[in-house]
Amino acid sequence: MAETVPRPVLELDGLTVRFRLRRGDLTAVDGVSFAIERGQTFGLVGESGSGKSVTAKAIMRLIPDPPGEIPSGRVLFEGSNILDKSDAEMRALRGRRIAMVFQEPMSALNPVFTVCDQISDALRTNLGLSKAEARERVVELLSLVGIPSPQKRLDSYVHEFSGGMRQRVMLAMALSCNPGFLIADEPTTALDVTIQATILELITSMIERLGMSLLFITHNLGVVAHACDRVGVMYASHIVELGDKREIFANPQHPYTVGLLNSIPRLDGHAKYLTPIAGSVCNMMEPPSGCKFHPRCAHAMEVCRREIPRLKEIAPGHLAACHLHDRGTA
């Protein structure tokens, strides 16, 4: 901790993403700021629809425009703003230096190419490998992600792969060029726990070996507990809590985070009904005033309806956006 402050690999500064839809505007990401240091794994968790994937796609500059736009904010990658880069500069960055595993494999894989062709494409354009070299490397990558008999599956099409195998093909593709920064959007949801453990080990070894940094989006809080360093929690387009993994699990400060942790089904218990967070999800087209969580929050106060709570540091490195922490102001 006493070393010189390292410059983060990635820094989001007030990132805002809006979709202009027929029925009105939808702000999917609103003033999101966080930083990821080299070799660090940053876990992004939160409500379904809260803006995690949109944040990831904004970093990759893959927000469709129209209807999407980025009215404000900066995405600093190794110090320079990605949002200012030309398309050519972006192409040079993607795959080689920043790679992404998409949440839904079929949205990113091409059904008319074989598995080998899809993965070797990046290898050949980015690393200049020959066809035969690329093929060999693909076998290696597939076996690293736990595909049995990889040499026999090279010429399969993705529809001949299981859900979890497709996810692993995408992961192999993302890791193929040894990216310095990986964005993994739900990379293990379709995997059983033993293959998941294998994949997490593989990622950890790449972090150690190559100093890779990772933005890890997941709903699996068990994976967050073991694979991440820092954690950001999103609710309705905002980061509502940010902190060290241990702090977030042992000492959650935002009522949404507390509710999330209470919703986890336990492996040992057998409660008939689980305890989800009360109330219904936020209408993103017409979000509530003030704190967007207030209609569902058991602690909501008068001020919560009026004022949007800002992220405040509660303990060193631990931030939460909740009026319960406005000591002395209310």
């Binding site: 029925r23 409500e47 379904s48 979890g164 293959i195 709903h219 057998h270 989800p276």
Partner: protein, 329 residues
């Protein structure tokens, strides 16, 4: 016969083999075509109002099983019995009915929702096909109710699938399955794209519907705490075979098969203070392509003995409603 009446779905010797085209190199080398044994002779049954959880390694044949029992693909061999009738012999008319009775929620909602149709259309079309709602107002009302039940705001009704997050799309797929009042819902990872709070809400919804309407579920998931929570009984698959079945609580508290044990040891608990998950299986993942004789866990199993590589262990009763396929219990 009382038991047969209570059984909603049963399969016997269900088998699906795929022939691989093989790469050009092996073709040039004159190798024979290879057979991928995705599902290789499995038996199970589900009683009315019961939930059977299906778990197993990625690629072990769970989705293939789901597609076989909904007749999206035809089996290589085996029997499927729905409500006492031979599903594989259904007439076209009876099959249409069965398509209402048995609903499948797919693993990847991205590819199962038509991108050019609004949510209203996607959710009301099945009602139309099966004559469950007639006027526009009636359909709209039912769709709004469905959206609320799966935790999606009613403001979404006129939007298109690509405008949704992954988890929102999954809830649309769940709503669509529930839209035709099915008897059996086969969920292929129906909740794995959801945050744990919405997941809890959907799992509670599944349970309420089961209580209210006696729904039956075949529930595929990788999250073992979800499986334990939702299932009455659990079947564990490994490379095309069922290796263990039994009541959920007993199976989780005292797993018997080495693969089930390995699965439970690898669950990451949502607590950084707890030990990291352990990988207890050694070696290469087992292959479904022309698998060698004997037990499929050979080469990875901590309890392996000489007999394992020679004789395939049959699934045998071990009491308390449990069955296990292993030579060395």
């Amino acid at each position: 016969m009382t038991d047969a009446a209570a059984t909603l779905l049963s399969v016997k010797g269900l088998t699906k083999h795929f022939t691989l085209h093989g790469d050009i190199y092996s073709k040039l080398a004159g190798e024979k075509t290879q057979v991928l044994k995705a599902v290789d002779g499995i038996d199970f049954h589900i009683r009315r109002g019961e939930t059977l959880g299906l778990v197993g390694e990625s690629g072990c044949g769970k989705s293939t099983t789901a597609r076989l029992v909904t007749r999206l693909i035809e089996p290589t061999a085996g029997e499927v019995t729905l409500k006492g009738e031979d599903l594989l012999a259904f007439s076209r008319g009876r099959m249409k009915e069965a398509r209402k009775e048995v609903q499948l929620v797919f693993q990847d909602p991205y590819s199962s929702l038509n991108p050019r149709k609004t949510i209203m259309h996607i959710l009301s079309r099945p009602m139309e096909i099966h004559g469950l709602a007639h006027s526009w107002a009636e359909k709209r009302e039912r769709v709004l109710e469905l959206l609320q039940r799966v935790g999606l705001g009613v403001e979404h009704i006129d939007r298109y699938p690509h405008e949704f997050s992954g988890g929102q799309r999954q809830r649309i797929a769940i709503a669509r399955a529930l839209s035709v009042d099915p008897e059996l819902v086969i969920g292929d990872e129906p909740v794995s794209a959801l945050d744990v709070s919405i997941q809890a809400q959907i799992l509670n919804l599944f349970r309420e519907l089961q209580k209210e309407f006696g729904l039956t579920y075949l529930f595929i998931a990788h999250d073992l705490s979800v499986i334990r929570h939702i299932s009455d009984r659990v079947a564990v698959m490994y490379v095309g075979k069922i290796v263990e079945t039994g009541p959920a609580a007993a199976l989780f508290d005292k797993p018997l098969h080495p693969y089930t044990k390995a699965l439970l040891a690898a669950v990451p608990e949502a607590d950084p203070a707890k030990p990291a998950p352990r990988l207890t299986l050694q070696g290469e993942v087992s292959t479904p392509i022309d698998p060698p004789p004997g037990c499929r866990l050979c080469g990875r199993c901590p309890r392996e003995s000489a007999v394992c590589a020679e004789i395939e262990p049959p699934l045998v009763d071990v009491g308390d409603g449990r069955q296990v396929a292993c030579h060395n219990l």
